[in-house]
Amino acid sequence: MSQPEPQKIIDPSSSSHKKTVKKLPTPLNTNASSCIYTQSLAFTKNKVSLSAMAFLFQEMVSTIYKNSKTMAEFEAKLNKHGFGIGVRLLELLNFRASLPVTTNSRSSIFPSSSSTSAQNPSNSTVSASGSGAAGGNSGSGSTTDRHSNGPESLTSLINTMKRRDLKILDILQFVHGTVWAYLFDHPSDDLVKSSERSNEYMIVDNMPVFTQFIPGGVSCDFYVCGIVQGFLTNAGFPCRVTPHRMPQDGFDRRIVYLVQFDKQVLEREGLRFGSN
């Protein structure tokens, strides 16, 4: 019996196959730069085809409708889809509103928000030191590294950040003006306070853009309601928004978005700003 060949013990470190197995790039060790931080937040007026938008919206509504068992569930899901947009718009539009008006990074029909907020005299010292800091730093570093965030950073253009809206009326004005102008290219048609209940306000849209091709009831308008609700809720004004169709003055598709604030919002408003 011949001696069996000594078994070659294959040492994993010497295996020739090791080099050919590539590690899958996990999010932490990929070198591909994520472009989300390198894109500017400035406003670029991009035109989108209304048909494309309508088809996308129609497909989204179709899918949600198929996956819902009741109308209420459908409306809630549609609301939730809009909610995420409202959350992001809150930060983005307020940030853009802080940029000086002369830069072209603001929308061309951005209503000026500085008229609504009172300019505090003590604010000016902070702004002076802020711009002074930015100015001082830009002299020290190299000219290519003017912004630490990269050349697309907009913060260095800001003198003072826009004030946070703390009153119901202020934030509703912002929704009526700026948010609507961003979404639909024109401010909303009316902003009304209900005379019957103190926590109800109404935003009127004569010609809803998203649902103009959809006949029937107002269920699909819950999407825009979600946007408004997301915006207001995250700004500290929890509320419920519902759409109601009220044709008037020849506008058959006129929609009224009813905003009902929670009781706590009114209580806080009363405590802080005095009851009126």
């Binding site: 992001r88 930060e91 730093n137 946070r164 802080r272």
Partner: protein, 177 residues
């Protein structure tokens, strides 16, 4: 060296980091571990003040609708500054300097002991340069908005992107040191 956090909607920290060079600290190792564990509690305790300032009046008795809330609190002489974004996300920072770090590290000063320590610390506490800190907060705010624009990122999720971290550190080198 500073300790910086971003506080999410349910008072959860969605981002925390230690800003500054390792040269700052004793032995180049950053905060000593017993201090490191204490830091989140310190900032949590000042959240009450942040909330009060968010919706209340500021030091001059006027409505505080500004984003930058300024120097809010002291923890045994260590200043805490805060900033609020439009959706209620709070940026908090606890400012240290070398002297305090050395004393903490060697155990000369124990922050949890008594109020005599507070006076000692106040003497060597770092001065907060409001202008620079505010610009730093604004830049981080812009980064936060960019993070939020990611459709897969939801409010209250922890921020894990290493690029975000790198940018925050670069900003702190620029504005805070």
């Amino acid at each position: 060296m500073n300790y910086f956090v971003i506080v999410g909607p349910k008072d959860k920290f969605i981002y925390e980091t230690y800003l500054g060079n390792s040269k700052d600290t004793v032995g180049g190792s950053g905060f000593p571990p017993h201090i490191r564990d204490l830091l989140p509690f310190i900032l949590h305790s000042s959240l009450d003040l942040v909330y009060a300032n968010k919706w209340g009046k500021d030091s001059e008795g006027l409505d505080n609708s500004r984003c930058y809330l300024g120097l809010l609190d002291f923890f045994f002489g260590l200043p805490i500054t805060a900033y609020v974004t439009y959706s209620g996300i709070m940026f908090l920072m606890l400012h240290f300097n070398n002297q305090i770090l050395r004393k903490l590290d060697t155990g000369i000063i124990d922050p949890t002991s008594n109020s005599k320590t507070a006076k000692q610390l106040a003497a060597i506490a770092p001065r907060v340069k409001n202008g620079y800190v505010e610009v730093f907060y604004r830049e981080v705010h812009e980064l936060y908005i960019k993070t939020l624009m990611n459709p897969f990122y939801h409010m209250g999720d922890p921020i894990t992107s290493p690029l975000f971290s790198r940018k925050v550190h670069r900003l702190s080198k620029r504005y805070l040191h």
